[in-house]
């Protein structure tokens, strides 16, 4: 074959043509591959670590924010903090993304359309907001009905909340209403038996047998990281001493998965089980005789109506077995294990911050703890000490304020009430305008429209209030019903002071400094807002601080006056301080208030790790000075008959997955993806049904089902599993929000909507555990309706 001139030119032409086409084709290929790539610029600047306190839940973990230049790039636990000890849970880790969340409120928003939709709001300014609110408040004071101011707030002790509460007090309104669901029953049990107003602490670390009566202590305790650290020690830190953990509950939760034994019981029968154990322990004489004889009353006082006779009469073993569905043998065995342990600890039901418990259940658990004698002992139930900064000097009320405080609270709660707040009653009062109308309503740190069983009534009630103001970092469901949404800074953007979280036995003060040089958006801390309002309406005498950072410093100066405790430190430091204090010495590591301030900023705060076991006058504050078994209360509960409903409905068992507990978390994609690792549940609400129950109802695993109570219905995905007992359906709480940003809004369903206004007898607490629902396969109409979340 010859390559002549023509062929050569042909070849060259072909090569040139190929290159001319290929080169730009390659460029187009490349740009197609890379079109839409996001440009990312790394932060520039020195690396710093700033200490703050996480506010994703009530746990109060000290965090250490890693900051590079002006940006925070990671959160981890503060290694010196006694709660977190350098550790941080999933929510705390994800909190960084709330700081930089795209759907944060960036400026004050004013409602210009119908309530219930974010689209109704228009951007405004702080001046406009403060002018409007201050004018309204001033007129309330001028017209002498300051009681028309209502504050609904989270049950936290951050400075913002405390300043708001003090403002309301000084303003003259009695309507300082805490929104809390989960912890009230537990605290009430403590009040009823010991006369102490506090959430009990549990010394899990030193226990050797833990009986959890439905306490999801490894998912949603009051202080998750603290409890998890204690749990790790409980299991494996002490060679030769591995604690045993038994979980008794209708549902095999993530907590139950870690237990040595899961004992399934019928829904709502925790108290029955506990009293069955009590019967066995008392009947076999296994109770702590010394403790019961010396430190309690009401056990066997001879008078008809003591605990021993009540147990015999109302809680025989057969009845407990029948009510719980657990055999008598198992009850006996557990009773013997509990009583036989050195440090046996019983925990009452706790399903999450939004799911209220029953007094009867917690009373039963507490009675068991007393029977085995571990009140105020190592490995037992401890009574938290007050933090030195927990109380401020009382407000001096002027005459206007005094007259306002003489009016009753809108929710009907007063000094004689057992419960601390009554949302249901409040909603009625707001709607009816009786006994008086509410004019201004502040909402902060909670989401009643999402989380209250009275939500429907609340929504319509809020329409009757002329001015509703919501403080929010990301708008929540209640914000959509407000007139003003005031942007609250993220916790990483503000100064704050935290005292001990609930269920922690020792006093503590944590200092939170802002981790970013300036807030990302036009936000103002709620505390600063109320201080400003106070100045505007001449209440600055009660709230004399110029701003929150000044207050924080002032509080630390006050702390210096308390002559005990130390800067937060390592385990070694803790042991040193405890040893010194036991001997009566005080060596805090700071010589003056400035040094206390400086070291607090460096280490995270102050604490007093010394717990004085057996200080009976502090922990038993009823007239008898002893633990009171309260047979009078027990009798009232026992007299209430419980019927086993078999009408084809299922018991509704509610729980909160840890990643969306408390009504927060759904706004972050990472937390939506870890709802339940057992099912690999993500981005949806599901309902767990036992295979036998599902077979009877004709329900297939994975299909959408309609869950209906008397007045409402939701659609969830069925999960047919043996992780729930028969005759029940377990549905997680935390999704089904109307607001919360692009990742939360409209995802999942809210089973709290299925609850009706049922109260537990005797305590009158809202009953979250008695609902019964009808379950069926969802048809197309149901599913379409579920697509638009109803209000």
């Amino acid at each position: 074959m010859t390559i002549g001139r023509r062929e050569f030119i042909g070849l060259m032409a072909g090569a040139a043509a190929g290159t001319a086409v290929g080169f730009p084709a390659g460029r187009i290929f490349d740009s197609t591959l890379h079109s839409g790539d996001q440009f990312l610029y790394p932060p520039r600047g020195p690396e710093q670590f700033v200490l703050s306190v996480c506010r994703e839940c009530s746990g109060g973990c000290g965090v250490r924010a890693r900051r590079i230049g002006e940006r925070v790039v990671k959160l981890d636990g503060n290694p010196l903090h006694p709660i977190s000890g350098g550790r941080l849970c999933a929510k705390g880790q994800a909190a960084l993304q709330v700081l930089y969340h795209p759907d944060r409120v960036r400026v004050p928003l004013r409602r210009a359309g119908a309530r219930g939709s974010l689209a109704s709001f228009r951007p405004s300014s702080w001046d406009a907001a403060l002018n409007d609110i201050a004018a309204r408040l001033q007129s309330l004071r001028d017209e002498q009905h300051p009681e028309s101011l209502v504050l609904i707030r989270g049950d936290d002790r951050t400075l913002g909340t405390r300043i708001a509460r003090r403002f309301v007090d000084a303003f003259g309104s009695p309507n300082d209403i805490a929104f809390n669901g989960g912890g009230e029953a537990e605290a009430l049990a403590l009040l009823v038996t010991q006369g102490v107003r506090a959430t009990p602490a549990y010394d899990l670390r030193a226990a050797d047998y833990v009986l959890s009566l439905g306490s999801e202590m490894l998912e949603t305790p009051a202080a998750p990281v603290y409890t998890a650290r204690a749990y790790g020690d409980f299991r494996q830190t002490y060679p030769g001493h591995r604690g045993k953990f038994v979980h008794v509950d209708p549902r095999l939760s993530i907590t139950a998965a870690s237990a040595d034994e899961w004992i399934p019981i019928r829904p709502g029968s925790h108290a029955a089980f506990a009293f069955g154990l009590a019967t066995a322990i008392v009947g076999e004489g296994l109770y702590d005789r010394a403790f019961v004889a010396e430190r309690t009353i009401g056990f066997e006082d001879g008078a008809d109506g003591d605990l021993r006779s009540l147990i015999e009469q109302y809680f025989p073993l057969e009845k407990a077995a029948e009510q719980t569905g657990v055999s008598v043998n198992v009850i006996l065995r557990v009773a013997r294990e509990l009583a036989g342990a050195h440090n046996g600890l019983v925990l009452g039901p706790h399903k999450g911050p939004l799911i209220g418990g029953r007094l009867f259940d917690h009373l039963a658990a507490h009675i068991l703890n007393a029977l085995v004698g571990n009140i105020d002992q190592r490995g037992g139930v401890l009574i938290p000490e007050e933090s030195p900064l927990d109380s401020w000097p009382a407000v001096e009320r002027d005459s206007v304020a005094a007259s306002g405080h003489r009016r009753p609270r809108l929710d009907g709660v007063d000094a004689s009430s057992t419960i601390g707040n009554d949302l249901e009653q409040l909603a009625q009062a707001l709607a009816s305008g009786q006994p008086y109308r509410a004019e201004v309503l502040f909402v902060a740190g909670c989401d009643p429209i999402y989380a209250s069983p009275a939500r429907q009534r609340f929504a319509s009630a809020l329409e009757r209030v002329p001015l509703v103001v919501s403080f929010a970092t990301i708008p929540n469901d209640t914000s959509l019903y407000a007139d003003w949404i005031l942007p609250e800074p993220h916790y990483l953007e503000q100064w704050d002071l935290h005292t001990s979280p609930p269920s922690v036995a020792f006093p503590m003060v944590s200092v939170a400094s802002p981790a970013v040089p300036k807030p990302l958006h036009d936000t103002r801390a709620m505390g600063d807002v109320f201080l400003t309002l106070a100045r505007r309406i001449e209440l600055q005498r009660a709230l004399p601080w110029s701003d929150v950072p000044t207050l924080v410093r002032a509080e630390i100066d006050r702390l210096y006056q308390v002559r005990r405790g130390a800067i937060m430190g390592t385990d070694f430091d803790q042991a040193w301080v405890q040893m010194m204090e036991r001997a009566g010495w005080w060596s805090p590591g700071y010589a003056n208030a400035d040094e206390l301030w400086q070291r607090s900023l460096e280490a995270g705060g102050w604490w007093d790790p010394f717990y004085d076991h057996g200080d009976w006058s502090r922990v038993f504050r009823r007239k008898s000075g002893r633990f009171d078994f309260r047979p009078d209360v027990v009798r009232q509960f026992a007299a209430v008959s419980s019927s086993l409903d078999s009408s084809g409905s299922l018991a509704l068992v509610l729980f909160e997955p840890l990643s969306v507990a408390g009504g927060t978390g759904a706004e972050l994609p990472f937390l939506q993806a870890i709802l339940d690792p057992g099912f690999d549940a993500q981005w949806e609400t599901w309902g767990e049904i036992h295979p036998d129950t599902a077979a009877v109802l004709g329900i297939r695993d994975g299909s959408p089902i309609r869950v209906a109570s008397g007045h409402e219905a939701i659609v969830v995905r069925a999960r047919v599993t043996e992780r729930i007992v028969q005759g029940a359906i377990a549905i997680p709480v935390g999704l089904g929000r109307l607001a919360g940003g692009r990742w939360a809004a409209g995802v999942g369903a809210n089973p709290l909507r299925l609850l009706d206004r049922v109260r537990e007898p005797v305590s009158l607490l809202p009953d979250f555990g008695s609902a019964r629902v009808l379950v069926s396969e969802a048809n197309a109409t149901d599913r379409r309706a579920a697509g638009r979340i109803e209000r």
Partner: protein, 233 residues
């Protein structure tokens, strides 16, 4: 020789998934929305896997095991990568070279632990979420494979710090994000070849087991089984 390894005490682990989220935040894992997760494409380098128990009687149970890259000493993934985009380093870390990966996903199918992940789409952070990204870890483009690196960037920082302070690397200097955050203190990390290290000591525990040991991958993540002494996971 240094051989980095991890020990996870399943008796302490509460399956809280703090490790999952800490890893995602530390390593600039791309966001996955609801649709991505419905398609099974959410990325997490460590996951809590439900473990099927053996024939353990009739009582229902749930066992959750944290599973992450085992950084095997005989990694099946390294053998099969056609472009040498995954390698085993001197100190035993199995690394992924993102700029070299062609995205064929052979390594993902070869891994018996199914710990490798793939970027099915371009990563996107709605403004201003990109400000929270860590500058220590490169953001992966779409089309490449990624997996747990034992927070290799922290090793580099620790080495730099030790060099700056003129001292050798000590236990606790280099700890991956998951180990650092675990609230139950169930995870331990260190040099398996250092007889004084915690992990070396725990690896000799009668409770120590490895997953899929019979495949000969020689994984360097060791689990301590639940309970008093040895037995099933």
């Amino acid at each position: 020789m240094t051989r980095w390894g991890m020990v996870i005490d399943l008796d302490r682990c509460t399956a809280c998934q703090a490790c999952v989220v800490a890893c995602q935040v530390e390593n600039n894992i791309p966001l996955a929305d609801r649709v991505d997760c419905e398609h099974g494409r959410g990325i997490s380098w460590i996951r809590l896997a439900p473990f099927r128990e053996g024939e353990h009687g009739t009582r229902p149970s749930l066992r959750l095991i944290p599973i992450l890259c085992m950084h095997c000493e005989r990694p099946p993934c390294v053998k099969v990568c056609p472009a040498t985009a995954t390698i085993i380093g001197e100190e035993g870390l199995v690394g992924q070279i993102y700029p070299r990966c062609i995205g064929c996903r052979y390594c993902t199918t070869a891994c018996p632990y199914t710990v490798r992940r793939f970027n099915w789409k371009r990563p996107e952070w709605p403004e201003p979420m990109e400000q929270g990204l860590s500058p220590d870890v490169s953001v992966r483009p779409r089309g490449v494979v990624e997996k747990c690196s034992f927070c290799h960037h922290r090793l580099q920082r620790a080495k730099d710090k030790a060099r700056f302070e003129d001292r050798p690397l000590q236990e606790g200097d280099y700890v991956p994000a998951c180990v650092e955050t675990c609230p139950a203190e169930a995870m331990f990390f260190g040099d398996l070849d250092d007889p004084r290290s915690t992990v070396a000591r725990l690896a000799e525990s009668p409770r120590a087991i490895r997953l899929l040991e019979e495949l000969g991958t020689k994984p360097k993540v060791i689990y301590l089984s639940k309970g008093e002494s040895g037995g099933d996971v």
